[in-house]
């Protein structure tokens, strides 16, 4: 699923640019850095943020924008509440994914194991937040770039059915805060979600 947790970094673009300038450093940090990052992420027990998501779809002339809030609670609960253009919630809890539309009262429940593609998307984000490298590697080839202050995870699906749906998922972050999620779909569609820390 297209969700992630993180805060908006005003300086995100700048940091990313900086990251591109030191690719050798990021790659040298490689495996060790990944494990360390995961270890740090695993320390986060809960977090909340606001998101703005833009979907770039081949069938559309202009991107589709939506926004709302995100909440994560270790180890397995992730909530995405879209508030605009209309209200709809997506709640991932354990094995179950619930899509709920409060306005119409409609509620769909999916079991992850029965929907391998949905499962792959969901774990891409959740396992990152949870710092669960083993689960992440069940679905993806994982590569890390950047340093702890500005890192980027590139997830490349290994499972054939998942590859038909998504070419790559990229998560960007700073420290233990995930601030950007990009999903590149196999058909050329993509979405980017920018996450900002909710002022507390």
């Amino acid at each position: 699923m297209t969700i992630g947790l993180r805060r908006a970094l005003a300086a995100a673009a700048a940091l990313l640019t900086a990251l591109y300038f030191v690719p050798a450093l990021g790659q040298a940090a490689g495996t060790l850095g990944l494990e360390q990052l995961m270890h740090e992420l695993a320390q986060v027990k809960s977090s909340r943020g606001k998101f703005v998501e833009r979907k770039y779809l081949a069938m559309l002339d202009t991107p589709l924008e939506s926004s709302g809030t995100l909440a994560y609670a270790a180890p397995g609960r992730l909530e995405k509440h879209m508030l605009a253009p209309r209200e709809e919630s997506l709640i991932l809890d354990g094995d179950t994914l619930i899509i709920e539309n409060k306005r119409t009262g409609k509620r769909r429940s999916l079991t992850l194991q029965e929907n391998p593609v949905v499962w792959g998307f969901a774990e891409g984000i959740r396992s990152t937040l949870n710092g669960d490298l083993a689960t992440l590697r069940r679905f993806y080839k994982v590569a890390l770039e950047g340093d702890f202050r500005a890192w980027r995870l590139r997830l490349e699906p290994t499972e054939p059915r998942m590859r038909q749906a998504a070419a790559e998922i990229r998560l960007g972050g700073s420290g233990t805060w995930v601030n950007r999620i990009e999903i590149f779909e196999a058909g050329g569609d993509r979405s980017e979600t920018v996450i900002t820390r909710e002022p507390s």
Partner: protein
């Protein structure tokens, strides 16, 4: 040998030959439906048919357990693969994706013929505008990814609508790609045989295949396979009936023969003593075969009943003969009493003859004909064949002691009355009902097997359907049209909150009329493009974004209509088969309901649909059973009344009728109390058995009532009664060993009741 004797012998042999000829071409069935009621109402008929032969009855529920979940998942996959490859199953589902590929393709291909949303307005500029606005909102939403893939070919979301509509009411959870029970200890599979459930040979072959495939897959592992389902039950029951019928008949015959040999001390007399039984059994089978076309295995097992009672006749003949008297001379005096006893039995058995259970009716006919023939053989044939001057030494030796015992018995009269009062009080005061109120009590399947079945069904998430709408129609298309009409009424009920959901055959296979209407509602490509262009004005969709949609709609306009053949091999087809069934005359569509909160309102809403009936299955089954229990009670009371009339006519003294009947009623009452004390809920079978107690016991009380000079003669009578009762108790006691509920119930009840009837006949005898 007298002239009359020769005639009797000749007639006997002729009858036997005729019976043997009939038996030789008799079909023996073990179909358990003989012990399902012959349903009185059309709705119940559908239920019974479904139990017997419906698609649901062809399901085999499988569970694999006692291994690690990963290993169980492997076993499930291996077992499913080899069953799918065997070609004996219509479908094998275990949760693997592989099983649903075909379903998905089918739904996608036929979505514009299957979706109830397909109407002309929906493809107009206004309808499409609505759909596109909704699509846009959905694409932006978190759930949007689910439809993104389909959006350009299916902007109206028909495939999502179908997936939602056709989603099974509940599904087991998945682990490692296969179905598991909620606690994760058992991998689950659901196979549907190609063969009908009533084709027991094929069911047996399918089961053997399952077990062989499992044994191969699970070699060297501790894993265990559980199987349940109608076919499994039929196979097990047949094996059990065959085994019990043979084993118990042999055992009873052996035991009784040993007892008789000990009494007679003559192989020839033993052989002669079995002649009435053998002749009766042969004639009984021949009569049932003539009347019913086939003889049920359980009826055969009932040969034991005849051994229990008909052997008595020979015992009376041989045992009561005084030493030196010509055979039959004593019997002349006994005959009126014996004849009355036999008639009493026949009147009692006649209650079964009118039973709505084919099985019980067969037992009744078998017993009546068998007893008549056995008595006739005893009366007219045996005396001709018995050795001259034969007397049972033991009978004379035991006579004085037996007589003393019988004369002393009335001392216990008061004790008997106390026992009777205690039994009566117990039955009156115990809080639990004496009679079992559920149809399950008649099931030939043991409680343990029923529990396993319920467990696997629950694991598989098949909810117990309580409410079912049944629609009858003369043809398949008419049934589908009626189903569509009922479904429309039910959707209205959902909107009003009277029920949560339902399943209906037209969702899988819409009627041809509906499919044609949907096909006609699809516009031509150019018209659709024009409408789309108007609809997307001001929306961010690209001009040619929906070309795949235009192409698919265009294809659907010439798509052949979907039919049963198109659904074959898919899980949708399997479900259709269980919801739309061909009956002996016409078709029936079944719509199981879920979450009914107001059954009366739903029934009212269906009034507009002709031939649609809302069934409350639980009530139907309970009513069915209550109806049969009532019928059996009335039959039994009628049998009892007939016995009273018979005795009144024969004995011509109300007081003697009372004397004869009291010990029998007492025996029946105390037997009931003992059974209840043993924690047994009485069923119709027990009721019938109580009638048998009265029938068999009447011989005893009649003999005790009979005017006879005290002395050795009467002593021998008591010995013969004791022996007759002993053989009855042994014969029926053996029946009580059966694992088949009907045999077990009748066996234990009659064994106990017969013994009590003899004791009470003695203790309650008026004269000493």
């Amino acid at each position: 040998m007298t002239r009359a004797g020769r005639w009797a012998l000749g007639a006997w042999i002729a009858v036997l030959l005729g019976c043997a000829a009939q038996v030789a071409r008799t079909e023996f069935s073990t179909d358990l439906s003989a012990f399902l009621p012959r349903s009185p109402s059309a709705e119940q008929q559908v239920l019974v048919e479904q139990l017997r032969d419906g698609a649901v009855s062809r399901l085999v529920l499988l569970g694999v357990e006692r291994e690690s979940p990963e290993r169980l998942a492997q076993l499930s996959k291996a077992l499913a693969a080899s069953l799918r490859a065997s070609g004996r199953f219509a479908s094998v589902a275990n949760g693997e994706e592989a099983g649903f590929e075909k379903d998905r393709e089918l739904l996608w291909r036929y979505r514009y013929l299957l979706s109830p949303a397909v109407k002309r307005e929906r493809f107009s500029a206004v309808g499409l505008r609505e759909a596109l606005e909704e699509l846009l909102a959905q694409l932006a939403s978190p759930g949007g990814v689910l439809m993104q893939r389909f959006a350009t070919a299916d902007p109206g979301g028909e495939i999502m609508r179908l997936a939602e509509q056709l989603q099974p009411l509940a599904r087991p959870k998945l682990h490692a790609g296969v179905w598991f029970s909620a606690d994760g200890s058992r991998a689950l599979l659901l196979a549907q045989t190609l063969a009908a459930a009533s084709d027991i040979d094929s069911q047996k072959a399918a089961l053997e295949l399952i077990h062989a495939a499992f044994a191969e897959a699970a070699a060297g592992s501790d894993a265990r396979l559980l199987a349940s389902g109608t076919g499994v039950f039929s196979v097990a029951s047949r094996a059990r009936i065959r085994e019990d019928a043979l084993r118990l008949s042999l055992l009873a015959t052996g035991l009784i023969s040993a007892m008789l040999l000990a009494l007679y001390r003559s192989l020839r007399v033993l052989g002669l003593g079995l002649l009435p039984v053998a002749s009766g059994a042969l004639a009984g089978v021949a009569a049932v075969s003539l009347a019913f076309g086939a003889v049920h295995g359980i009826t055969l097992a009932f040969g034991v009943t005849l051994i229990g009672e008909a052997v008595d006749y020979a015992i009376y003949l041989f045992t009561q003969n005084a030493p030196g008297a010509p055979p039959g001379s004593t019997f002349e005096r006994l005959w009126p009493t014996l004849r009355l006893g036999m008639l009493t039995s026949i009147f009692g058995f006649s209650a079964m003859l009118f039973s709505d259970f084919t099985g019980l009716a067969q037992l009744g006919l078998f017993s009546i004909v068998g007893l008549l023939v056995a008595a006739a053989v005893t009366r007219w044939v045996l005396p001709e064949l018995a050795p001259r001057g034969f007397a049972v030494a033991a009978a004379s030796a035991l006579a004085p002691r037996a007589l003393a015992l019988a004369q002393a018995a009335p001392i216990l009269r008061n004790a008997t009355l106390i026992v009777l009062a205690a039994a009566f009080g117990y039955l009156l005061l115990r809080p639990q009902p004496l009679w079992s109120g559920t149809l399950a009590s008649l099931s030939p399947i043991s409680a343990r097997e029923q529990a396993l079945d319920a467990e696997l069904r629950r694991d598989l998430g098949a909810p117990d359907v309580r409410y079912l709408v049944v629609v009858h129609a003369p043809g398949e298309q008419a049934a589908l049209r009626a189903s569509e009409q009922a479904a429309a009424a039910l959707r209205d009920c959902i909107a009003r909150g009277w029920l949560l959901g339902f399943d209906s055959p037209d969702a899988y296979l819409p009627s041809e009329a509906t499919q044609l209407a949907r096909r006609a509602a699809l516009p031509a490509p150019d018209a659709l493009r024009a409408n789309l262009a108007a609809a997307r004005l001001g929306l961010p969709f690209k001009p040619d974004a929906f070309e795949p949609f235009v192409r698919d709609v265009s294809d659907a306009r010439t798509l052949p209509l979907i039919d049963r053949a198109a659904l074959r091999g898919t899980s949708l087809g399997v479900r259709l088969d269980s919801l739309l069934v061909k009956r002996a005359s016409g078709w029936a569509a079944m719509l199981p309901l879920r979450g009914v909160s107001d059954a009366q309102a739903v029934a009212g809403a269906l009034k507009g649909t002709p031939d649609a009936v809302l069934l409350d299955l639980k009530r139907q089954f309970d009513d069915l059973y209550a109806g049969y229990l009532r019928e059996a009670l009335i039959n039994s009371l009628a049998g009892a009344a007939a016995i009273i009339v018979l005795l009144a006519a024969a004995l011509r003294s109300p007081r003697r009728v009372f004397d004869v009947l009291t010990p029998l009623a007492a025996a029946a009452l105390v037997t009931c109390a003992l059974l209840a004390l043993g924690g047994i809920e009485l069923s119709i079978f027990h009721l019938v058995a109580l009638v048998l107690v009265v029938a068999v016991g009447s011989n005893y009380s009649l003999f005790f009532d009979r005017e006879a000079p005290p002395g050795e003669d009467r002593g021998r009578t008591v010995v013969s009664l004791g022996f007759a009762a002993a053989t009855t108790v042994v014969g029926f006691g053996v029946l009580a060993l059966s694992k088949i509920p009907v045999l077990n119930a009748i066996g234990s009840t009659v064994a106990m009741g017969a013994a009590l009837a003899l004791v009470f006949s003695a203790t309650m005898a008026r004269r000493t």
